[in-house]
Symmetry: C2
Subunit: 372 residues, 2 copies
DNA sequence: TTGAAAGCGGTACCAT
DNA sequence: ATGGTACCGCTTTCAA
């Protein structure tokens, strides 16, 4: 297998010019059907595979999106990745995936690699903080979208998030209906993850009218590794007969502990957890969950990113002539221009909310007669 | 943010030539420490990020490896991806990940994209069959490595596989020790996946001397979706009191069915499954597993691929002069030449085996007194 | 030790 | 409708 087949080889074999081949391959009209056929023949005969690097260097788009998740081994993120990748794929885009392991530096290192590849955009589930890497992405004008999480100081970044309210609300009503008087919310590392902290707030807001301020308890951890034992003890002492977990990895680590304590889920203690992970549906009792509809979230994020990318494309060329230096305001203009036709600084930083929903299963039961 | 910073900008800012900058960035010695500093200053000041596309076009390597797995949502493959990516990362390589969904065409489509990107090599967990896409990879001289699975007709492709023998052997001894007389092996879609078929053979080989030919049962499915009910019924009728699953997705789908039948795992029926997935360690009883050491497998595959890539690098230049047209026979020669020390042709180990091992947990118990 | 210039494989623009 | 060619950003070879 000598050298790689290039577009020039194809042109030669087809007896046409290089540009003709390029045209045909990109469907840029203006070619005779005869040329068309000759080119396609040659391509097939030679097994020509275009070089997307060369292509993207000239055309300044790579049809590739970067995707950063904390942990691909986490069922939730694996599903997110799958959904994003699948959607992008359908639209002709490839996906570059990386794990940050929830570590700022790993994340930034990967972002750097992404920048290095001149991809068209980045979907990121950020670590807890803003980082230089994220700033670099912005500084390089690469479209950025947050998924599942946001961070303070990046309010201008569009994002796709789950709205915990509907799911929490349904879950709490179900628990209430089962006669429980006291509920605890174990949020996981909410001290570090704003998303989890937000769930705490929503929990309070929804649970208070239902159970009364004195009958709800919220417990957070200050790190993902913090052992759940203490929080569970607190909840038990508090008299809670139902537990809602705001973070599935925490749930997974807590379940065995709970059992070892002698508390039987779905009998002595009702359990609800965020995230529709496989283990919960196989476990006995099957664990009720608040689904974040990760597939929907992934698809949304992908579509949102595609919109950003297309928009960036057109904005770039149209703005080039008009804008003076930054052209940031102009870009914003373009966004709103579709609804209003005057001008007016428009509300660009879009937040797209995915509704959560509650899936009732065996782990939520009536209050045990013998109070735990 | 006007235009992107290029190497020329850096050169200008540093007051040196473009090639000087390139040298410094690639550590190709021969520069004065003064130039060195000036360049590094400029790079930092301008926030220069090299364009890896342009770089790889000239240098003909991208430091990127493609990775194809059947399903990233499968815990096992998610872990594999994680391990591969992590290892490659440590060696300065990026990873392009894709799911084939165990579909030939999806796989080939992704392989095509990979080819399009001119990556350095491909690690693939292939679908059940050989495909045109895989042929194309070979035809384009892209180093290919199979992980976790092989397929017929691709015997020359190096591979990293799990050796089921040690794990199965230990598991069977444990089951035997617990007094079980009859064991069944539920292999999942072994009709389609050669890897699973192989496990059946190994199971027979190991189980026969221990239990006797008449006391073992092997059941396979002809598709991944085939419901496990029938196989379980067969096993029960056969009188098996211990079940070994050769395919974790099947296990996951079967457990609920088993329970619904009234058979309590770890009491009425002993259970062992392949794959160390999270659900098994959280489940009650905790499910004994035959671990494929997926982290080791992933790391091995990554390292093996790196070796292939490095080797391809050097081989390309040296072989170029020797080989006539295809050079395929030559390559085969090289394979065998490792035992002989005449030629400098390097040794390329075709198959690397990762040892499986058994992890005993609660799901394996003594034979129930009241025969099921 | 350093700089100039030739490509890598495409795309896009401008002639024809 | 088609072909010629500059050029994307970088590495590499060759001269100075």
């Amino acid at each position: 297998m000598a050298k790689r087949v290039t577009i020039r080889d194809v042109a030669r074999a087809a007896g046409v010019s290089v540009s003709a081949v390029s045209q045909v391959l990109n469907g840029k009209g203006r070619l005779s059907s005869d040329t068309h056929r000759k080119v396609e023949d040659a391509v097939a005969r030679l097994g020509y595979i275009p070089d997307s690097r060369a292509r993207s260097m000239r055309s300044s788009h790579s049809r590739t999106i970067g995707l950063v998740v904390p942990q691909i081994r986490n069922d939730f993120f694996a599903s997110l990745v799958s959904a994003v990748q699948d959607t992008l794929w359908r639209h002709g885009y490839a996906t570059l995936i990386g794990s940050s392991f929830d570590d700022d530096e790993r994340q930034d290192a990967f972002l750097h690699t992404l920048l290095t590849q001149r991809i068209d955009g980045i979907i990121c589930v950020p670590t807890a903080h803003g980082t230089p890497g994220l700033e670099a992405v912005l500084a390089n004008d690469v479209p950025l979208l947050f998924a599942d999480r946001t961070i303070d100081g990046f309010e201008t970044i569009p994002r796709v998030l789950a709205d915990p309210e509907p799911g929490l609300s349904e879950a709490l009503r179900d628990i209430h209906k089962h006669g429980h008087a006291k509920v605890a919310f174990l949020a996981g590392p909410a001290t570090v993850l704003p998303t989890l902290a937000h769930r705490c707030d929503v929990f309070r807001a929804v649970a208070t009218p239902l159970f009364g301020e004195d009958n709800i308890l919220v417990r957070t951890a200050s790190s993902p590794a913090e052992l759940p034992g203490l929080a569970v003890q607190d909840a038990v002492e508090f008299g809670a007969t139902a537990l809602i977990f705001g973070h599935s990895p925490t749930t997974l680590r807590t379940l065995p502990y709970l059992v070892s304590t002698g508390l039987e889920p779905g009998r002595d203690m009702s359990i609800v957890s965020f995230d529709e992970v496989q283990t919960f549906s196989v476990y006995r009792p099957r664990i009720s969950v608040i689904s974040q509809q990760v597939a929907v979230m992934g698809e949304s994020a992908a579509l949102e990113m595609l919109a950003l990318v297309e928009h960036a494309d057109t904005a770039d060329s149209s703005v080039a002539s008009a804008a003076d230096s930054h052209g940031f305001a102009d870009a914003s203009d373009a966004d709103t221009a579709d609804s209003i036709l005057t001008s007016a600084e428009p509300p660009v930083p879009a937040t797209k909310l995915i509704s959560t929903h509650y899936i009732a299963r065996d782990s939520v039961c009536p209050v045990p007669t013998h109070a735990a």
